[in-house]
């Protein structure tokens, strides 16, 4: 069966001979978009984070066949080497990576996280559910679905905080 979906603003048709293909494997192996990474493949590490209709999700925990008509944004859709997104530039400025494998997931996740915060969404560490503030504890909690085995967390938090302040 064929499904059609919009990826990074472009309509793509994906032939699927078997419904077992995850969205992650479809992006990397069928659609030539290897920027999204496979880490644990069980929804625990966040390396595969993409946006589904504007919301961050784990691409490893959903089937491609379930996304007929949906809009997917991957790291390839956020910026280019010539025109970095604000978070991509901030990760470079703050050295928010070492090996870089988790970085696409970190940046897609943080991009969506800042949008969630602007919508007023609370987190588990928000003292006031109705008026959360984006301090470092909030950033760490909201990014807890993205692991970095090189443990660049302090620099990742710096990059996200700076971006949040500059676009606020």
């Amino acid at each position: 069966m064929d499904i059609t979906l919009t990826i990074n603003g472009e309509r793509r048709t994906l032939p699927l001979e078997d419904p077992r293909v995850t969205l992650l494997d479809a992006l990397r192996q069928h659609l030539d978009l290897p920027g999204t990474k496979k880490g644990c493949d069980h929804g625990q590490c966040g390396a595969c984070t993409v946006m589904l209709n504007g919301r961050r999700i784990n691409a490893c925990l959903t089937l491609a066949v379930m996304h007929q008509g949906d809009e997917i944004t991957t790291i390839e859709g956020l910026g280019t080497p010539e025109a970095l997104s604000p978070l991509q530039a901030a990760f470079i400025r703050h050295d928010g990576f070492q090996c870089g494998y988790c970085t696409p997931g970190q940046i897609v996740s943080a991009t969506a996280m800042l949008a969630e915060f602007r919508e007023g969404w609370p987190s588990n560490v928000s003292n006031d559910l109705s008026a959360p503030r984006l301090d470092d504890e909030e950033i760490r909690e909201r990014m807890s679905g993205n692991l970095c085995r090189c443990s660049c967390y302090p620099n990742i938090v710096d990059a996200i905080r700076e971006t949040a302040e500059s676009v606020a």
């Binding site: 069980h42 919301r55 807890s144």
Partner: protein
């Protein structure tokens, strides 16, 4: 994953007629399918059947089964009147998973007992009759209440613990018509059929969760776990406590992480009604709630941990110093 057929249902009637395993967020089911713990022959995708609204119902709120966990936690009405529910949802999983996981699916998530996940070891929940590896094995996270010879698994979720304390109702449709179950009575203790997690019958679909009118009480969800974020509860306590001057008018308390279902005892709660708060009262309540608790070695610590957490939450909920 084992091979399966895929059908996308466009409404609830079509989903019920399709016959197969329902998939919504898929955050737990697909993970288990990759490991071949779950091997459905047919998947019925219910993401497009509707049932995704949060709407007032009387003084309460009707939450569609397909409402995503993130949307429910962020709903302004839930944050204001049922903050316990927002807090419990936000205490679970990661933002990515909460964006995808649904209200109905959260109720139906399976245990995280390590032997349930390990196809090379006996597990009565995964393969009835094969035995329980957790008793005498790694059981640090497992049950201290309501367990059986056959199984000591826990229900892992947070949201359903809050739903039990809030006296929510689970609405179900199925081949034999619509019916409801109280949230506190949705999950089953293992007995000698640990393969059945809930009282949902084959072919039935959760359609919505109804929250009754808010009590106006002090609502607290406290979760104790090994990591500060993105970890399952060792013990959690959900409480909704209504005060009347210096006495407790009504208290509803549910424990998570300690049994195969959210753990509530109405007869224990009755000890609190009409009483002035005190450390001694909370101790008697905790002892009654935890009566019969049994550790299995590694998880013995959960009994005093649960007792202390209950007392701390009740102290805070009744205006005492947070312990």
């Amino acid at each position: 994953m084992r091979p399966f057929t895929y059908t996308r249902a466009e409404d609830a009637a079509a989903a019920l007629a399709a016959g197969g395993r329902f998939i919504a967020g898929g955050t737990n089911l697909l993970d288990l399918m990759k490991l071949q713990v779950e091997t459905p022959d047919a998947l019925v995708d219910i993401n497009h059947v509707g049932l995704d609204a949060i709407a007032p119902e009387g003084e309460g709120l009707l939450v569609g089964a397909l409402v995503r966990n993130a949307d429910l936690a962020a709903d302004p009405r839930v944050r204001r009147d049922w903050p316990l529910l927002s807090r419990a949802i936000l205490a679970g999983a990661s933002a990515q998973i909460r964006n995808r996981a649904t209200t109905g699916g959260n109720l139906l998530q399976r245990t995280r007992c390590p032997y349930f996940y390990d196809l090379d070891t006996p597990c009565n929940k995964r393969q009835p009759g094969s035995g329980c590896s957790a008793q005498g094995g790694f059981n640090r996270t497992l049950a201290i209440l309501g367990a059986s010879e056959a199984c000591i698994a826990t229900f892992p979720g947070d949201m359903p613990v809050a739903l039990a304390a809030l006296d929510a109702e689970i609405r179900i449709d199925g081949p034999n018509g619509a019916r409801t179950l109280p949230a506190a009575g949705f999950h089953r203790l293992p007995g000698d059929t640990p393969e059945r997690d809930t009282n949902l019958e084959p072919g039935e679909l959760i359609t919505s969760v109804a929250l009754p009118a808010p009590t106006g009480g002090r609502q607290i969800y406290r979760k104790v776990r090994d990591r500060r974020s993105f970890a399952f509860a060792l013990v959690s306590v959900a409480a909704d406590v209504v005060m009347d001057g210096g006495t407790i008018r009504q208290a509803r308390v549910a424990l998570g992480g300690v049994a195969a279902r959210p753990w509530m005892l109405p007869e224990a709660q009755a000890l609190l009604d009409g009483q002035p708060p005190s450390a001694a009262l909370f101790g008697r309540f905790a002892d009654r709630l935890l009566a019969g608790a049994k550790g299995h070695g590694e998880n013995d610590f959960k009994i005093p941990l649960a007792r202390r957490t209950v007392i701390a939450v009740l102290t805070e909920a009744t205006g005492g110093d947070a312990a």
